[in-house]
C-alpha cells in the first residue's frame, strides 16, 4: 500500500514564525500535492510538483512556498505565519497519469496563535 506520511498531526505556532510542514511518500510517485481544507470550502490546492525541483502554483499559493529536493519529499513552507493560515493541511501523491488516484496523508492540523 502507498504510504504518505506527514511529519506532524498537530502543530501550534505563533504569528510571524516560519513554519515547515513535511510530507514523505514511499511509492516513487512523480506527483505530489499540498491542499488546505477548511469547513465549507472543501480542499483547495496550494502547490503541486510533478518532478524533483519542479513546482506549480495552485489556487491559493499566497503566503506559501514549497520545496522538493528529493522525489519522495515535498515540503510546504509558511514564510511568515498568520492567523488566517490556521487550517488542516493535506499532502497527497500520485503517478503522473490523469486517471491515477491521489493518495493522501492523515493531515496536519496547524494552529497559528
Amino acid at each position: 500500500d502507498v504510504k504518505v506520511t506527514q511529519s506532524s498531526r498537530y502543530l501550534v505556532k505563533r504569528t510571524g514564525e516560519k513554519v515547515f510542514l513535511e510530507c514523505v511518500q514511499d511509492m516513487d510517485h512523480e506527483n505530489m500535492f499540498w491542499y488546505r481544507q477548511d469547513p465549507g470550502l472543501g480542499l483547495r490546492l496550494i502547490y503541486f510538483s510533478y518532478d524533483v525541483k519542479m513546482k506549480e502554483k495552485g489556487d491559493i499559493p499566497e503566503g506559501y512556498s514549497v520545496s522538493r529536493e528529493k522525489k519522495e519529499r515535498f515540503s510546504l513552507i509558511l514564510e511568515s505565519a498568520s492567523t488566517n493560515q490556521t487550517s488542516m493541511y493535506l499532502c497527497a501523491s500520485s503517478p503522473p497519469d490523469r486517471y491515477a488516484p491521489q493518495h493522501f496523508g492523515d493531515g496536519t492540523r496547524l494552529s497559528i496563535l
Binding site: G42, F48, R98, Y99, P101, Q102, H103, F104, D106, G107
Partner: protein, 114 residues
Amino acid sequence: AQSVTQPDIHITVSEGASLELRCNYSYGATPYLFWYVQSPGQGLQLLLKYFSGDTLVQGIKGFEAEFKRSQSSFNLRKPSVHWSDAAEYFCAVAGNQAGTALIFGKGTTLSVSS
C-alpha cells in the same frame, strides 16, 4: 472551467437505510471521476473511480457510483448504511493535463442515526 458540485452539505440517514450522495461535474471531455471518504481526523481514502467503460462502478466498503453523461452526474450509493459510514464524502474530477491536481467538490457530511 472545470468544477464539481455537491449540492448537499449535510445528510442524515438511518442505519440500515439506503444512501445516495449527489455529485455534478462540469467538464468538456471525458471526465476521470473519483469519490473519496474522510473519517474524522483522518486523510482522504479513495472509495472508487471511473475512467471509461461500464458506467456503474463498484468500490470499497459496499459503495457504488453511476456515471451519467447526459446529466453530468456521478452519484454515490450504498444500499444499507452502517454507523461507521458517518464521515465526509468528496467527489472529484481530474484536471485537463497529466500531472495536474484533482478538482474537489466542497463535500457532503453524512450522519447516521440509530
